[in-house]
Symmetry: C5
Subunit: 365 residues, 5 copies
């Protein structure tokens, strides 16, 4: 590869992604949230008990406030965040103002809180953007109350709770026979399960990259290694606090959580621990890939330099011999001999060949 | 870039900043404080309850000692530290002498203490000096007592509590309806929120630097990486103890803290934890930038050496051929041939071209 | 070794094993298990007490459900997992549905659970595949209940419990005189003991590799170091959670576990801790081997470059002398002297010899 | 710098200090102490209460044993350790034999013990030896009993407790109004405060070194980095156990310690924590300095090699042209042309200049 | 040093010690112990109380079983392990079968257990083999029971308990006046004290190595660094679990341990913590030595390459000048001038001298 090509790679911003660094570094949970108000807000309500289930979408939040007073378990899912809507519904359900603030905030660290007889979970759904090869996150807030679950999703377009919805509609599914905390568990489980899908995608990137490093090892590889290290930061930044969140739920003594469901939360906890461990493994493999990359680059470079040095070295004796018989002394042996020239040229060939043999014998070539 | 330029960079003290190292290393909390007495001391007093608020500045500390005995909640903010003033006011409020010493000390590690029925917090406000690209700190002491808050700021010029003041003046703001501990929370919250602004500035420096490393990778870049590593030390040095401070408040069983405000302190705690995590991420990114820098420098160097070695190597056969036909033997084939010279020169060109092709085929060029 | 040979190694996928990376990274415990249904399921039943023992194989799971109601201690070992069978037997023994799910899952992190009066352990049996030099795992689930132990093995072909079976058949063996929890201990002990056999095999690989690194240090060595680092990841991934598992059993206050057997579980715990420590030692040794490898590669490269540089340098004076007396000036001293040529050639030899001596004296050669 | 100079540095033992390594490594607290008996033992006694104070020196230990039975608080400071003296006084005060052993031992790790109604602290006073640029330590033992404090110092020459003595003589100083535990606190505080002075000196060394690394980066710098890393080991070796010591005192429920003094011990604790944090910062800065050093050394080396390679490469075409027109063919174009020579020499100059321009354009020079 | 010499070092197995790696890695505590039965078993019995002491050797274990029922404190030391003997004595003293297994096992991790009213300690005595420069270990088992101590040593040849024996024979020695747990403490203390002697020996090796690295830095040094890193693994592998062992004894609430002896166990604990810290310091120093080694090797290599490159570069202009005046043009200035040759040769000398001056000025030489 020509040097200019190297330099060209060095300048490709798409490769080294300063933009991505910006996204990862510019995290400020405390400023007034700059999130655009969602244009489209979808509010879907599920009211169910073991026997019956009602599912409907409402246009305005006021339409779903009545759920609070029914005997059904209700799940209100708000897809897309609009300040007025969030405040309206939360006030309707007597949610603490700080929780409302957390729901509306951006870049929040995943966390769990028990306030005023509700249990509040804030965490991120992760997606893998195949085009940009980057991990994207969507903030999800889940409020578990007596007989109700509120869930808020940042992005109206993406939704991962469909499997839960499907299960809800099955009459004798366990989810229908259990309380609101089982629903809450199902949502958390769904989110954590999704992390593994993202990890799998990142894992695929690592594999592809490893193949590339083994085959060609150019600067592009280092750029990718660099990029993957950044994505791993995003993953870990989410896993560690979600682990704490789930641990908090398991150790919580809230009345909202039935004892017989602890086992389920422990199951999700086991998964997030595994995800965290796995992200450590990823890191190890990426670091060992970087070692490999550096080794390969050095190996190639060394190879070239060695061959060049050897070729230059092999030619040196010929130059000397040429110089010897090119001197203008009156008396130089063999100069007038008919075979002199051929002897000299012969030497020019034989000495390097002898050197070559010596070098090979010493294992240098 | 010429070697002299390199060396010139190496000598620019502004680049590698020994002075900054001095500031970071020369931390001694125990010597008699050498801080200059503030020339200008601003003392502002707020006395308020849910219904009314009084705001006034006083000239001498003695004027604000009466606040102690009113039913109002009072906030006395002292901007600029003068030994006599601090002692006067603290004695007026029966503050433990060791706390007074801490307020007047410099380079103190952030910490929290419960002494004699007050709660004492010492921490640093951080600012980012854009000119020097360095993180500066101002020591803030906050004393929470029964119905009063005293706050001491080192620097009379800089003040970050204005948003709190604005909120105080709003009649039915929550801050007016709650006790002194809510005010104390508001001040701590303001300080921690400010940390994120500083981090954002440092983050911007990292981004700019990353771009520079990708584009040009000269010694200046390493100097900057080095500088940023130092600034991160300053950040971490503040975050970890502030985390402990807030944790201490949350776990405190002081009567000064209302239970219903724990949630608020937990919120600030979550933020400082996030700031701490973020500073770890910064570190990871800076280290991976350093790897990138070293790789880029090596790549450029290798490129140059490789081309030089190849060019030198390609010229060697021509030298040998020139030497062969420059020998003074009587009988040298082709010497008297009309095309001899051109054949020789032709060989001088063809052999390197053949070598070049070989090198390219092996991917060395 | 020629450069082409190097590159050939670089391309050997068997050496750098992207496939292995895939296996290690693609861990997703949450998807619907894709494990093929076992074709062959072997169900063996042992019913025993101190006095008598019955051993028989059954064809269908329903044949072993009666064991639940006998006074004997019964051990039902299912070799090969088929969804319907696992569900049938677990339902027969009133096992919690989540446990059934765990048994049927793949890539699960080892863990221990106490649910509904049973104690559930999930861990991996490890094998060392000598052909692929890789660590393989087989998921084992053990359920300890009142008077019964159920064990599920993924792979019908491989079984490591034979020593336990042998001991069971001995009339006054301790295992016969103790309860089901002692049997459970025996199984766990057998699994952990087997880890050491796997570690020994990995240790042998490390030794062989170290010998290779010392002797020849080619790219193949780095590939192997890389591979071993991956195998260590697999080992550690199993050891840390099994340690937690055993710790959980020791601290458990379940009625299923007799106090006098704690000492036995502690013994297994001590072993797994030792295995974990040992895997750390392995890591240290592999890392120090990598340092050695890099040092050796550099040493060889440096050696070659140094010799080439020295040879080239030694020939330079001869070239200059040849050039001097090859100039076409009318008057050149010694040109017409009979010994001139020999003096010149003599100098060509003497100067390099003098240089060589100088170099040697300075320890460069 | 000539190679010989480099090698000379390598051999300067004063630079790389094997002797220092010996001191740091040869730590054996268990052998029979080989400390020379102090020739000079100074015993000073302070007997005081809030009202009066008596200060006198005694010649023999027996003279100070009466203090035990007075109502005064007594502080007996023994400067210089002699086995018989230490045993005499300790036996007089009923000190446990193991404590006596500890006082007389050398190389002991700092620690705190509560035995037989006394509180025993063993720690090191640190000094910075400017000549050797090394951290020296003196073992201090402090025994706090009911109404008395015994302090033992290894070295009769050095004493750091003078400020405490001065404060003792002031009639209404707080130290006079409080009990023996406040005196004990004052001594510990004095020792920990002194650590910061030592750290400041080490910090100055780091600064000086950083300047040197930036300016010249020779082997001497690496030797100093190496040395400082060793001094940091000494610092940390003292800080971590002293932190434990102070933590032990704070959590102690001994009757010897008044509750209202906890705040004071916490203050010292805060300082030692800060010292420990600071030593971590020092380490970070030293490691980043080592990175800088390596980078600078490589940069210089690369610069030289690059220039040499470029110069050699630029001369190669001239050699080839000289060879071309030095060939002895009958017909060589321009050979008989009057300007031939100048054209050839012109080419010899022009080709390197063109190459130079090309190299510069590619940024190699 | 010639290249062949380098390679010879690379092949010296004694230097890089694969055998040692085998010993360190092949740790399997679970296999049936392969330890050879001791040929020579020495059984010594001490029966004592404050007033009298009896010391005798017995031939068979049965002779010492009567000690169990006397009022004396008895210490039975078995030097050399033979399965039948160990089982006979342990059964005589009602020791749990698992403890017997542990005593007979090999490669066990040090640990402490309280079983059936005895206290069992298993740890390793370490020795430094000066010939092989390696740390050797001998497994020691100590059983503390009501009024008796049993100690088992693997190797009948080596014994470190002599100082304890000496003290036992002194009539009013403290060891005679205290119970069996004080004897047990004395044995553990003896073992831990011995660790420091081993560490001192390892420390000496580090010093010697550091001197070697500073002076000559050849591959032999790296081999030794490598070796020492392995020995440190052995040391740490012993220290960490012994620390846990002692901590376990201190926190134990066994009736076998008198409260007034806790202080003694704490003393041993302090020592093992110090040994552990020290081994961390050793590691730091070895790693910084490795940095030094790599730096020195690079420095030497760079020095040689630089000088070669400079010499080659200095000769290039002479070659060019020789070529210029060796061309066969008809008209070459100064060719017929009498001083032409000398001017040319003069230039050949002057240009390199000028270059040399330039290089020196830029600090390259």
């Amino acid at each position: 590869m020509s040097p200019q090509k190297y330099l060209r790679y060095l300048m490709l911003p798409s490769l080294f992604g300063t933009a991505r660094t910006k996204e990862i570094l510019q995290v400020n949970p405390t400023i007034v949230p700059t999130r655009e108000e969602a244009k489209d807000v979808k509010i879907s309500v599920y009211e169910y008990n073991a026997a019956t289930i009602q599912e409907y979408n409402v246009e305005t939040v006021s339409e779903c406030l009545h759920c609070k007073d029914t005997d059904y378990i209700s799940w209100i899912n708000i897809d897309g965040l609009r300040k007025t809507d969030v405040e309206a519904i939360c006030n309707g359900y007597d949610i603490h103002p700080l929780v409302i603030e957390d729901i509306l905030s951006i870049n929040q660290r995943p966390k769990m809180d028990e306030v005023d007889n509700i249990l509040f979970c804030l965490l991120n759904m992760l997606y893998f953007n195949e085009e940009k090869s980057s991990v994207e996150s969507e903030q999800i807030s889940i409020i578990l109350g007596k007989n109700f679950v509120l869930s808020f999703q940042e992005d109206a377009q993406r939704d991962v709770f469909n499997p839960v919805r499907t299960r809800l509609k099955i009459t004798n599914a366990k989810i229908r026979q259990r309380g609101a905390d089982y629903l809450c568990y199902s949502l958390l489980d769904m989110i954590v399960d999704n992390y593994f899908i993202v990890m799998e995608k990142v894992g695929e990137q690592i594999e592809l990259l490893e193949e590339e490093v083994i085959r060609s090892s150019n600067t592009r590889s280092l750029a990718r290694i660099n990029k993957l290290r950044k994505e791993l930061i995003v993953l870990k930044r989410n896993f560690a606090p979600v682990r704490d969140l789930l641990n908090g739920i398991i150790r919580s003594e809230s009345d909202l959580l039935e004892d017989r469901h602890t086992k389920y939360y422990k199951d999700v906890y086991d998964h997030i621990v595994q995800a965290f461990d796995l992200s450590e493994n990823y890191r190890d493999i990426i670091m060992s890939m970087q070692d490999l990359y550096i080794n390969n680059v050095n190996l190639r470079m060394n190879e070239v330099m060695k061959v060049m040095a050897i070729v230059t070295c092999l030619m040196a004796p010929a130059t000397v011999i040429g110089g010897i018989f090119g001197m203008n002394f009156d008396k130089i042996p063999y100069l007038h001999n008919d075979w002199g020239f051929f002897i000299a040229v012969g030497l020019m060939l034989l000495i390097p060949l002898w050197m070559l043999r010596l070098f090979r014998k010493r294992g240098w070539f």
